[in-house]
């Protein structure tokens, strides 16, 4: 019988390998191993040849880097003048010019704490973590919004650009992590009411798009509280983001909790530790360490999602670029504007993910 499944003859022995050393050997192995591979390689090289040189010509050689309006720009090249002219606005929004040092102070704080946490050579990680989780949010808010210590108050509707993106990401992260941990513990609790409540909360927010949550936070939150209480728009957006992301964070943390063997909790109990002691001192430190990649991914998602605040009228980096594109002086600069904003977002997200991958490997 002729088989469709099996080889019928012995497969012939392979040829001895050709020289696979050096540049030529590498190319033979990785680019031109078979005729079809060679064809793929040549097609790709031709495609790149068609795309890259004109792109380089447009983005760098023919580009205009400074100028006051679109008309100052070379027609054939990129008009980066749009970005350089508006850079201050893209970073600080409508923050008063005399107070911009406060935003810079916020950036410096952020960089210092993050650098301390991220560079392995610097000692005192626990202190840095404590500063980052407890002190940084308070000092940042004081510095940015002012109203104390003789600093003039700057209302949040004047905030904008990259600074709002970072504020939303920072506070969203700092708040959604503890809320997420509590929800994850609740979902694994032995008390049925608490378990049901946490499960319902998590599944509800994970089941709906962030945009509806933001609509809800912006339209319905004012309805939910007495008329005397007026929430700041930025705070409303933040509440929406935290409600949403904490549900995702809870699922990540739950994955870590499930990976900790039951023996750990039983050992704690036999030592006479209570629930919170065993969770805080034994289970959570191990579980959180296991799910660092998941937490980082949630953080990257949160960072990208901050751009959605555009739909409720806040000016983050993307929406301030979007607003600047409507300026009659700069009409037609959409490609440059989006490329710039995209590059900034990409730099942050890619940087975070690369760093976490390195962390995983060590």
């Amino acid at each position: 019988m002729k088989s469709t499944m099996m080889e019928e003859k012995m497969i012939p022995a392979r040829e001895p390998p050709v020289n696979s050393r050096g540049v030529l050997g590498w190319m033979r192995e990785k680019l031109f191993a078979t005729p079809s591979q060679s064809l793929i390689t040549l097609t790709l090289i031709y495609g790149l040849y068609l795309i890259l040189p004109p792109l380089w010509q447009w983005a760098v050689m023919d580009a205009t880097w400074t100028g006051e309006s679109r008309s100052a720009c070379n027609v054939d090249g990129a008009c980066w003048a749009f970005v350089t002219a508006r850079l201050d606005q893209f970073i600080y929004g409508f923050y008063p010019e005399s107070e911009i040092w406060r935003v810079n102070l916020f950036f410096v704080q952020l960089v210092l704490i993050l650098g301390w946490l991220m560079i392995p050579a610097i000692p005192g990680k626990k202190l840095a973590l404590g500063l980052g989780l407890l002190v940084l949010p308070v000092t940042s808010w004081l510095v940015l919004s002012g109203g104390y210590f003789g600093l003039p108050e700057v209302e949040t509707h004047k905030w904008g650009g990259l600074m709002v993106t970072l504020v939303l990401a920072l506070y969203g992260m700092l708040a959604s992590l503890p809320v997420g941990v509590l929800l994850a513990l609740g979902r694994r609790s032995s008390m049925p009411v608490i378990r049901t409540f946490c499960t319902a909360y998590i599944e509800l927010w994970r089941g709906v798009p962030l945009i509806t949550v933001l609509f809800m936070a912006s339209v319905m939150l004012p309805l939910f509280v007495p008329e005397e209480i007026v929430f700041d728009k930025l705070v409303r957006a933040l509440i929406g983001i935290v409600m949403f992301q904490s549900a995702y964070m809870a699922e990540v943390v739950r994955g870590g909790l499930q990976a900790i063997p039951k023996g750990q909790v039983e050992a704690c109990q036999s030592l006479g530790m209570g629930y919170w002691q065993s969770m805080l001192l034994v289970v959570l430190p191990q579980a959180l360490r296991l799910v660092i990649p998941g937490i980082v991914n949630t953080f990257i998602a949160l960072f990208k999602d901050t751009s959605l605040v555009l739909v409720i009228g806040l000016f983050d980096l993307l929406s301030i670029v979007q607003a600047a594109l409507n300026d009659p002086e700069w009409l037609g600069s959409a490609v440059e504007g989006y490329l710039f904003a995209g590059f900034v977002f990409w730099l942050f997200c890619f940087g975070i993910s690369k760093y976490s991958q390195r962390l995983e490997k060590n």
Binding site: M1, M6, I40, V193, I211, V219, L308, W346, C349
Partner: protein
């Protein structure tokens, strides 16, 4: 023995069972109090603003037009109809997006694992670029920077004189079917469904029979008969009934194209951005799925003499799919939820026409947002129930 008796309350507090009951009762009380407070505030706030409550608004006439409707709709239809139109538009873009994203994602995921260095590098650049840029930005880029600068209808870019691309959208030829052709289409789909069902139920028998000396030939004939019936039966039907197919080609009339199918730029931008963004994630899912099949499995299959194509279809893909499908469905759900970003460029999806325009016109935020969320929640929960069923069915049965 001086066993100090603690007061009753302290003893209860130290009893874990009682403490658990206490916590749960407190939680229920807190939630009930919170809900009552919120409802009370909402009702008084709504009264102050003079907004009525209830779902009566669904039968009021909407009074606004929608640029793309899959069912009949105009200004005189009700808000209830608006809801339906938005829902169908959401489902349309999600469906298109899922298909395109799956194809692109699988291609790139496989390319990522290619032994060709250049191909695999380019696939990984694609993945790293598109998944690290916010989706909203990508939608804007396609809508304003790419489709927004296309020429006006008179200077349309034309492909083969039948597809026309301009700032008003993409005009495509569209088949016009007469009654006979519709019958043929139905017959074709019925045959296809019947054969697929038959194949599914005969699967184990076919596999077994293939290896039996006298039945091997028969299996081949059965498979050929099934495949040809899908083509032949509709073909014969088309001779029996008067089946005609005419392609309607878009034509320039005045300032715009008429006839054919028009893909509005909002839909095109959303579709591209959603697919390209989600494909980057699907590619990673596919890659990790294929990598999860250990090398030993492939080597064992090859050592048994299976042909390379068979190694792929009988050993690698079934095992990889078990790993791929759960996160893949998650990506589909993400795509459906992300389609709500339509509202930022004005594609008339559920969030845009219902949680946007309808909410602004009626002011009934609570009902409108609740209905919108309920739709997405229903989709998500249905899919996750199906997913759990699948996981139970597909999970490895271990000894």
């Amino acid at each position: 023995m001086a066993n100090k008796r603690h007061p009753m309350l302290v003893r209860l507090w130290r009893d874990p069972v009682w403490r658990a009951v206490l916590f749960q009762v407190l939680l229920i009380l807190a939630v009930v109090a919170m809900v009552a407070w919120v409802v009370n505030n909402t009702l008084s706030n709504l009264e102050h603003r003079g907004i009525s409550t209830g779902f009566d608004f669904l039968s009021q006439s909407a009074g606004f037009g929608i640029i793309q409707t899959l069912v009949e709709y105009d200004e005189s239809h009700t808000f209830g109809r608006t809801f339906l139109v938005g829902l169908l538009n959401t489902l349309l873009v999600s469906f298109l997006g899922v298909i395109f994203a799956t194809i692109l994602g699988f291609l790139i995921g496989v390319a990522r694992l290619s032994s060709n260095w250049l191909l695999s590098k380019m696939a990984s650049i694609y993945i790293e670029v598109f998944r690290n840029i916010p989706l909203l930005l990508q939608i804007f880029f396609w809508y304003f920077a790419v489709l927004g600068i296309l020429p006006n209808p008179r200077q349309s870019i034309s492909l083969f004189d039948s597809i026309f691309i301009n700032v008003r959208g993409i005009s495509l030829p569209w088949p016009e079917l007469n009654a006979g052709m519709v019958t043929v289409a139905w017959v074709f789909m019925a045959c296809l469904a019947a054969v697929l069902v038959l194949r599914f139920f005969m699967r184990s028998w076919l596999l077994k029979a293939q290896h039996q000396e006298n039945k091997g030939q028969m299996v081949l004939y059965i498979k050929a008969a099934m495949a040809s019936s899908v083509v032949l039966i509709p073909l014969v039907t088309s001779f029996l009934v008067d089946a005609q197919l005419r392609w309607e080609i878009p034509e320039l009339k005045g300032f715009n194209f008429s006839g054919g199918l028009v893909l509005i730029p909002e839909l095109a931008a959303l579709w591209f951005a959603l697919s390209i963004y989600t494909a980057a994630f699907i590619a990673e899912v596919v890659r990790s799925g294929i990598e999860s099949v250990s090398k030993g499995q492939k080597e064992a299959a090859a050592a048994l003499g299976l042909k390379p194509r068979r190694v792929l279809s009988l050993v690698v893909i079934p095992q990889a799919m078990r790993v791929i499908i759960p996160p893949l469905t998650n990506q589909y759900l993400n795509l459906i939820k992300n389609s709500s970003l339509a509202t930022a460029i004005g594609y008339p999806d559920l969030v845009s026409v219902f949680a946007g325009t309808t909410l602004n016109q009626t002011g009934q935020a609570v009902e409108v947002i609740a209905m919108t969320m309920a739709v997405y929640l229903t989709i998500s929960l249905t899919v996750s129930v199906l997913m759990n069923l699948y996981n139970r069915w597909a999970s490895l049965v271990e000894r």
